[in-house]
C-alpha cells in the first residue's frame, strides 16, 4: 500500500501544473460552497432564532384550540403546578408566559389597533432581549402599571414618556376592557410591523385589563438543545393532553419554514451545479492521467501487476487531489467564515428593508458548523470516487498487447 501511495504521489507531481490546476478547481469550488452555504445556513438559523426569540419560542403551550381561534376564550389557566411541570421538563431552559390580545389605543385624536402583550418583565428580557431595545424611559417591572410602546407607535400617537394613553378592548367572555395607562418606556424595533403596532405591559396588569386573572394565551419555551425539539414537545404534550395544545415553531412559523425550504432548494441546486463542474474537472484530469499511461499500465500488467492494484493507484491519485483541494478550500474559507460569524455583514438599502419585512435585523450572519464543512468534504470525496469509475473501466478493459505497442 505504501508503495502504491508512493507511485501515486510521484505521478501527481509528474505534471505539476495540471495537478495544481485540478486542486485549485476543487479548492475554488469548496471555497464558494462553504462561503455560500454558511451564509445561507447562517441566515436560516438566524431567521429561525430571531423569530423564535421574538415571538414563538421553540415550543409553545396553548389552551386547546387557541392556535385555530386566537380568542381569549381559548386561553389556558396557569398555576404553579403547571409552571412547575413545564419548567421541570428536560431540555427546557426558560419560559415566557404571555397573555396576548388586541386593543384600540388612542391619544388625542389618534387611534390605532394594536397587539397587547402581557408578559413577565425579566423572563421576556431573557428570551427576547427586550430591555436592550429601550431608547427612552424605564423597562417594565413586575406588577407595576405602565406600558412600553415602540417608537413607531409613539411617533404616530405623538406621545412621550409620562403621557397617558387610552386602551380599549374586549376581555375574557366578552367583557369590555378599558384603561388609562401611562407610557413609561419606549423601545425601538427595526421591524416595521413590530415597531408600529404592539404594546407591552406587565402580565398581571394585562390579566386585570382583560378580566382574565390566572389566564395565559401562551407559554413560550426556549430549549437548551433545539436539536431535541421533538422529544421535548412529546414530553410537554403529556402534561395535560385534554386541555393544552403544544406546538413547535415549525408548526407556528409555517411561512418562514416554507420560505427557508424554498430558498434552500435553490441553494442546493447551485451547489449541485458547482459539484458537477468540479466532478468533470477531476474526471478530465484523471482521464488524461490514465490515457497517457496506457503503455506503462500495459507493461505493469504484463510483468505481473493485478489490474485492481493499478486501479488503486489511480484511486489514490484522485482521492489525494480531492483531499488536498478540500483541505485547501476549508483552510482558505475558514478565516472568512470565522470573521463573518463574529462580525455579521450589515445590510443596507433595499436588501436591508426586504430583510426587515421578515421581522429581522438587517444582518447576514454566517454559520460555523463543523458537521456541514465535513459533509462538503465527504461530498467531494464521493465525487472523486465517482470520477475514478471511468479509469477503472479503462484499466479493466486494457488489452495488454495493444497497450504495450502504444495502441
Amino acid at each position: 500500500m505504501k508503495e502504491y501511495f508512493k507511485i501515486a504521489w510521484r505521478n501527481l507531481w509528474r505534471n505539476r501544473r495540471r495537478t495544481f490546476i485540478t486542486i485549485a478547481s476543487v479548492l475554488f469550488a469548496i471555497f464558494l460552497v462553504l462561503i455560500m452555504r454558511s451564509m445561507q445556513i447562517g441566515t436560516y438559523d438566524y431567521m429561525v432564532e430571531s423569530a423564535v426569540r421574538n415571538s414563538t419560542g421553540y415550543i409553545q403551550v396553548h389552551g386547546k384550540g387557541y392556535w385555530e381561534d386566537k380568542s381569549l376564550d381559548n386561553s389556558l389557566i396557569y398555576n404553579e403546578e403547571l409552571e412547575e411541570k413545564i419548567r421541570n421538563t428536560p431540555n427546557v431552559s426558560s419560559i415566557v408566559p404571555r397573555l396576548e390580545s388586541f386593543a384600540l389605543v388612542s391619544y388625542g385624536v389618534q387611534t390605532k389597533g394594536i397587539a397587547v402583550i402581557g408578559t413577565v418583565a425579566d423572563l421576556e428580557d431573557k428570551a427576547s432581549g427586550l430591555q436592550n431595545r429601550l431608547v427612552k424611559g424605564n423597562y417594565l417591572s413586575e406588577n407595576q402599571k405602565g406600558v412600553l410602546i415602540p417608537e413607531g407607535l409613539a411617533d404616530y400617537l405623538k406621545v412621550d414618556i409620562g403621557d397617558s394613553i387610552v386602551l380599549l378592548g374586549q376581555g375574557y367572555h366578552g367583557v369590555t376592557a378599558a384603561s388609562l395607562s401611562e407610557v413609561t418606556g419606549i423601545v425601538r424595533f427595526l421591524q416595521p410591523d413590530m415597531n408600529n403596532q404592539l404594546l407591552y405591559m406587565d402580565l398581571q396588569q394585562a390579566q386585570e385589563f382583560y378580566a382574565a386573572p390566572g389566564h395565559l394565551t401562551s407559554v413560550s419555551i426556549m430549549l437548551e438543545n433545539p436539536g431535541r425539539l421533538y422529544q421535548t414537545t412529546k414530553s410537554l404534550s403529556d402534561i395535560d393532553p385534554d386541555n393544552l395544545e403544544v406546538m413547535t415553531w415549525k408548526e407556528m412559523l409555517v411561512e418562514l419554514l416554507q420560505y427557508i425550504e424554498g430558498d434552500n432548494i435553490s441553494g442546493l441546486f447551485m451547489l449541485g451545479i458547482l459539484y458537477v463542474v468540479v466532478g468533470f474537472g477531476i474526471l478530465g484530469t484523471i482521464l488524461m492521467m490514465t490515457m497517457e499511461r496506457r503503455k506503462e499500465f500495459g507493461i505493469m500488467v504484463a510483468v505481473g501487476m493485478k489490474r485492481y492494484k493499478l486501479s488503486l493507484i489511480i484511486l489514490i491519485e484522485s482521492v489525494v487531489i480531492g483531499i488536498l483541494g478540500v483541505l485547501a478550500g476549508i483552510l482558505l474559507s475558514m478565516p472568512f467564515i470565522v470573521y463573518f460569524y463574529h462580525h455579521p455583514i450589515q445590510l443596507t438599502g433595499e436588501w436591508a428593508e426586504a430583510v426587515m419585512e421578515y421581522n429581522m435585523e438587517p444582518i447576514l450572519p454566517f454559520a460555523m458548523e463543523p458537521g456541514f464543512i465535513l459533509n462538503q468534504g465527504i461530498v467531494v470525496l464521493i465525487i472523486t470516487l465517482l470520477a475514478s469509475i471511468y479509469p477503472f473501466l479503462v484499466i479493466s478493459r486494457l488489452k495488454v498487447v495493444n497497450a504495450i505497442k502504444g495502441k
Binding site: R10, V301, G304, V400
Partner: protein
C-alpha cells in the same frame, strides 16, 4: 522435457478485411538454460509468438505449456500471477515505471511477489551491480540512457527469479555499443545462473551471439539451428 512447449500455435487476426495469419502452426520446445533468438523479417510473427509464450495474448488455436502448465487455459487473474512468478519480460522500450528509481523498479516486481523489504533492497542492489549500474541505483529512467534503461529492465526481469526471460527486440533502439553491452550481460547471466533467455531480433550481430536461432517466416518456423 522442455520448460516451454508450443503445440501447433495459430493466431489469426480476423478484424481486418483480409484475415492475417500471424502464426500459422508453430511447434517449438525450449529447454532450460537456452540462449535462443527468434529471428525473421518485420511482420513475420516474432512478437506474436513471444506474446503467446508469455501469456500476454491468447492463441486462436494450439497450446502453450510452461513448466507443464497449459497457460492457454488459465483464467486471466491466475495468468497474471503466473507471469509474475515464472516469466521475466524485457520489452523494446519504455519498460520501466518512470516515477520510480532504478532500484525501486527492480524492487517493485519483488514487492508484487511479496518478498520481504530487506531482502528486496539487497537483491535489487546486487542485481543492479551485476548489470553494471551501481552508480545509477537512485536514478530515474528519464535520467538514464536507453542502454542503461534496458539493463535495468534485465535486472528487473531477473529479480523475480523467473524460469525464463522473454525479450522482444531488446536492442532495437540501442546503438551498437549498448547492444553489445546488453548482450554481454544477458550471456553472462545465462552462463552463470543458467537463466533461460528467448529474445527476438532482426539484427545480424545480435543473432550471431545466440546459441540457437529459430527463424520465423510468414508465421511458420522456417529454420531451427543450434
Amino acid at each position: 522435457m522442455g520448460i516451454i512447449i508450443t503445440k501447433d500455435l495459430r493466431k489469426i487476426y480476423s478484424e481486418t478485411k483480409v484475415p492475417v495469419y500471424a502464426l500459422n502452426g508453430v511447434s517449438v520446445t525450449i529447454e532450460e538454460g537456452e540462449f535462443t533468438s527468434i529471428v525473421g523479417p518485420s511482420g513475420s510473427g516474432k512478437t506474436t509468438l513471444l506474446n503467446m509464450i508469455g501469456g500476454l495474448d491468447n492463441p486462436t488455436e494450439g497450446e502453450v505449456h510452461i513448466n507443464g502448465v497449459n497457460v492457454t487455459t488459465l483464467p486471466s487473474g491466475k495468468l497474471i500471477d503466473f507471469r509474475l512468478h515464472h516469466i521475466g519480460f524485457v520489452f523494446q522500450s519504455y519498460n520501466l515505471i518512470p516515477v520510480l528509481t532504478a532500484r525501486e523498479n527492480v524492487e517493485f516486481i519483488m514487492q508484487l511477489q511479496g518478498v520481504p523489504k530487506k531482502e528486496r533492497a539487497a537483491r535489487a542492489i546486487e542485481l543492479l551491480e551485476s548489470v553494471g549500474l551501481s552508480d545509477k541505483i537512485d536514478n530515474r529512467p528519464g535520467d538514464m540512457s536507453g542502454g542503461q534503461q534496458q539493463r535495468v529492465s534485465v535486472a528487473r526481469a531477473l529479480a523475480s527469479k523467473p524460469r525464463f526471460i522473454l525479450a522482444d527486440e531488446p536492442t532495437a533502439n540501442l546503438d551498437s555499443k549498448s547492444t553489445a553491452e546488453l548482450l554481454d550481460i544477458m550471456l553472462k547471466m545465462n552462463e552463470k545462473h543458467k537463466t533461460t533467455f528467448i529474445f527476438s531480433t532482426h539484427d545480424q550481430r545480435v543473432m550471431e551471439r545466440a546459441r540457437r536461432i529459430i527463424t520465423i517466416e510468414d508465421g511458420v518456423v522456417a529454420k531451427d539451428e543450434f
